[in-house]
């Protein structure tokens, strides 16, 4: 976790980010939702967003590039059963919102198939009769909605360059990037739910290129948290720069190995990508509803060793996946996916929860007002076990110790997942020996879970800048894992 200590040589004062728009009035919400329901839908919601992103880049020793982005608009959704109509507009006038809401009609009133009668509109208790209270959920965000002024961002970036060059004389290039994002959201739905939230997100990314004896290597490190100006500290800068230098240095001595099936020890922290790819996506309830997921029909069943419990958590303070409310107005919560080896819950949005007759778990998320919410992960991690990491490594005759990762992927139906190990070690006779790099590790979700034979006591949540993509939408997530041993995976 990042320390909240501010820079001793440069006290950082944030500047207040003022709430920018409040376009939703209770009566307008009523009219818009009534219009959205008029095609026969049984549920409607409206999501209004004003997001400001500012970023600066250090390259070649200079901070000579900056970016500012403003995303402003509303998405309106009408749902009938599992059918969804969606429209968005960047014009928040009453006329434009009403036009968008009325345009939804064809989606939920498709051409009837032969022999199918066109249904009459469903009566609902939605519409102007309800009132919507947009209670700002600012508790705990007061400090976070201070963003760092550009002049101070520039100073921090210059410090990154200075620190990197001081740590290692073979550094030839430093590229660093600071991004500050503030998303203001207003949401209202036909069941009377409403919220108004401010979601800050700040990140620091550092790329290092080093040259030694004619060889060049590049390493990378980053952090991303839901914080404002208080994100930055001397400790944070030292950590991120230090990690990037360490990784680059490691790559000079590391090599690839011939592929094959081997035991894999996943180091605590970013190895949580295992959970994200191996089970997380396949637990998203839209894939369960359609029957595509390999975990379909497994609810309540013992799927792995009773020493394993896995959660998806929207309540970790400042975590990239933290949500006070999800993008469908469901309060943030912690969902136990696997409880002592038993499949306890999937990740539900409103539509899939209604389909299965359960409560939504607060996993309905969207990239922006341009996108429909779908089930997504938040912070996915395994609860700690009892084994010591040294004992786990000692138990392996020949295998891989996987330390840092760049990306992963999963095939929902087959359950085959991959993740890319950037750095790690060969384990020989219970000891870490040869440094390794650039290995793709493949497994099958349910099978890999069953093959976890040891769980360490050292859970660590990784706060690298981690974005997850699904159906073209990217959302911020995090993941964590204690050190675990998987008896067999394909490494290449």
């Amino acid at each position: 976790m990042t320390s909240k200590k501010t820079l001793s040589n440069s006290p950082l004062k944030g500047e207040e980010t003022k709430p920018q728009v409040s376009p939703l009035r209770g009566d307008l919400v009523g009219s818009v939702l009534t219009a959205a329901l008029s095609g026969g839908s049984d549920y409607a919601d409206v999501f209004v967003e004003d997001t400001r992103i500012s970023s600066m880049v250090l390259q070649d020793g200079k901070v000579s590039q900056a970016q500012q982005v403003c995303l402003y608009g509303a998405g309106i959704r009408a749902v009938k059963g599992t059918e969804t109509g969606y429209a968005y507009t960047m014009d928040l006038s009453e006329e434009a919102l009403m036009k968008a809401a009325k345009s939804l009609t064809p989606a939920v009133s498709p051409i009837p198939s032969k022999g199918e009668k066109k249904q009459s509109p469903t009566k609902t208790n939605g519409g102007a009769a309800l009132s919507w209270q947009f209670t700002p959920s600012l508790e705990g965000t007061g400090e976070a909605i201070q963003s760092l002024p550009p002049a101070q961002v520039r100073q921090l970036l210059l410090q990154v360059e200075e620190k990197a060059r001081a740590l290692d004389a073979s550094v030839i290039k430093v590229k660093a990037y600071i991004s500050q994002r503030m998303q203001e959201v207003q949401f209202a739905s036909s069941d009377g739910t409403a919220f108004h939230d401010f979601r800050p997100r700040t990140s620091l990314s550092v790329n290092i290129v080093m040259e030694r004896g004619g060889q060049t290597q590049m390493g990378f490190a980053s952090r991303m948290l839901q914080m404002g100006a208080e994100f930055f500290s001397e400790t944070l800068l030292n950590e991120v720069v230090g990690e990037a230098i360490q990784q680059t240095d490691f790559l000079f001595s590391a090599s690839q190995i011939e592929g094959g099936e081997l035991p894999v020890v996943m180091a605590a922290g970013s190895s949580g990508i295992l959970l994200h790819e191996a089970i997380g996506h396949a637990f998203e309830a839209d894939f369960i509803r359609t029957g595509d997921s390999i975990f379909t029909g497994q609810l309540g069943k013992q799927i792995c060793n009773p020493s394993i419990s896995i959660v998806d958590d929207g309540t970790l303070p400042n975590d990239a996946g933290m949500l006070r409310f999800d993008d469908e107005g469901i309060p943030g919560q912690r969902t136990v996916l696997v409880d002592k080896g038993r499949l306890n819950s999937f990740l539900y949005d409103r539509i899939s929860a209604r389909h299965f007759g359960v409560e939504p778990t607060g996993n309905g998320r969207r990239e922006s007002f341009r996108c429909m919410p779908i089930p997504r992960m938040r912070s996915t991690y395994m609860l700690p076990g009892e084994a010591k990491e040294d004992d786990i490594i000692r138990s392996v005759k020949r295998g891989i110790y996987a330390q840092s990762f760049t990306n992963g992927q999963v095939q929902i139906g087959a359950g085959d997942f991959t993740f890319f190990m950037k750095t790690g070690y060969l384990i020989e006779d219970g000891k870490l020996t040869k440094p390794l790099r650039d290995l793709n590790i493949i497994g099958n979700g349910p099978e890999a879970l069953r093959r976890i034979s040891m769980v360490g006591d050292n859970l660590r949540i990784d706060h690298s800048a981690s974005m997850c993509g699904k159906e073209g939408q990217k959302v911020a997530v995090s993941q964590g894992l204690p050190t675990v041993l998987i008896d067999k995976l394909i490494v290449g």
């Binding site: 500012q68 403003c70 493949i442």
Partner: protein
Amino acid sequence: MVNGQSIIYHAEQEILKLPAKLDYKLVLLKNHEDNIILRDNKVEKLLRATSLSLAINLYLDGRDGFFYTNDLRPESVSAFIKEAYETTRLLEPDETRTLADPDRYYKGGGPDLQNFDATLAEIDPQEKIKLLRDTAKEVEGADKRIISMQTRYMDRQHQAHYLISNGFDASEQSGYCTLTSIISVEGEGGQHPMDGWGETRLFFSQMPRQGIAPTALKRTLQKIGQRPAPSGRYRMILESPCAGNFLQPLLNAMNGQALQQKTSFLLGKLGQQVVSPLVNIVDDPLIPGTRGASLFDYDGVATQRRKLFTEGCLMTYFIDTPMGRKLGMAPTTQGIHHLIMEQGTRSKEEVIADSSRAILITDFNGGNCDPVTGNFSYGIEGFLIEQGIITQPVSGMNITGNMLDVWQRLSLIANDADPWETELIPTLAFEDVAFGGC
């Protein structure tokens, strides 16, 4: 809604009012999208939207800021530009960061690229839904093992108006539509193999009315029983739709930014033979009726047919104006538009029949390539080929190696590139590639 055309001139006026003289590039973007998903004969999702946004580059004595907003209320644009100016002022000068030389701008008179279907946004969504229903109907009840079938229709219209302070004022437009079928089936051991097939066209009227869903079903059923083949060295056959993925690291390594940051395995290799002499690739943005066709790039620079690889020699890098100055090289273009690899004469089937021990890769599953060294490891799936015959569907395997080394071992180029893609890469065969499996 604001008047689209007027907002760009409003923004220009606001920039001219700023206390310092700046160069600028303004791009007004208008996009229309329709996105419809049909599942179990029901419209699961329908999204229709038109969006308008403004991208602004400000150049102040070597300081370069990029700004983007879709809040186009005139007062918001005015405030946004003032804020953008204040941010740009804070940057450090970098004399390389300027607009392109106006002599290189597109001057007009180019051909009609025939890549914009003006009717896409006007077509009644019900007509698009009917296309989806007709597509889905082709495999209705065709196989008891089908678990779910999703049919997707998507179209995009893109229009942009460019206004650049050193003498460029032009518009461009393009569009396409895509129809895709994705099917999952009951497999072995509780697995649910899933695959799909899609077709892309520039005009709605060109969209194939049959064959998409049956192809998707055939591809999915072929995947039943996937398992890893033994580790070893095989001939690697890359099927056309995914062969382009294997070229991407080479294209990334040609990027000026990667070269300047010394993070490219093609650094210092211009003019050298870096891949098999069989490789001839051009980028040709000026062929009417093709995807990616365009008369100028994002900097306003006129496009041209450009050789990327000739008989395996690297012929160019992708260098924009700032990178050209940093590297002391003449600028070229920012990247590819419509890439064409010279095809061979044999079909994919003939290449398979000619292979005694090979793995046909139909899709990649994760993996990565180190941009500095070119070392890669990718997850793959496809089929094992023994004595010219497909004997087993495979998955859970990796390929590993070095990009330049493997591209030197390209031995066969087939003739089956899809003319509707932005990258026309046919099926390719490479000798002696390392596969990791069971």
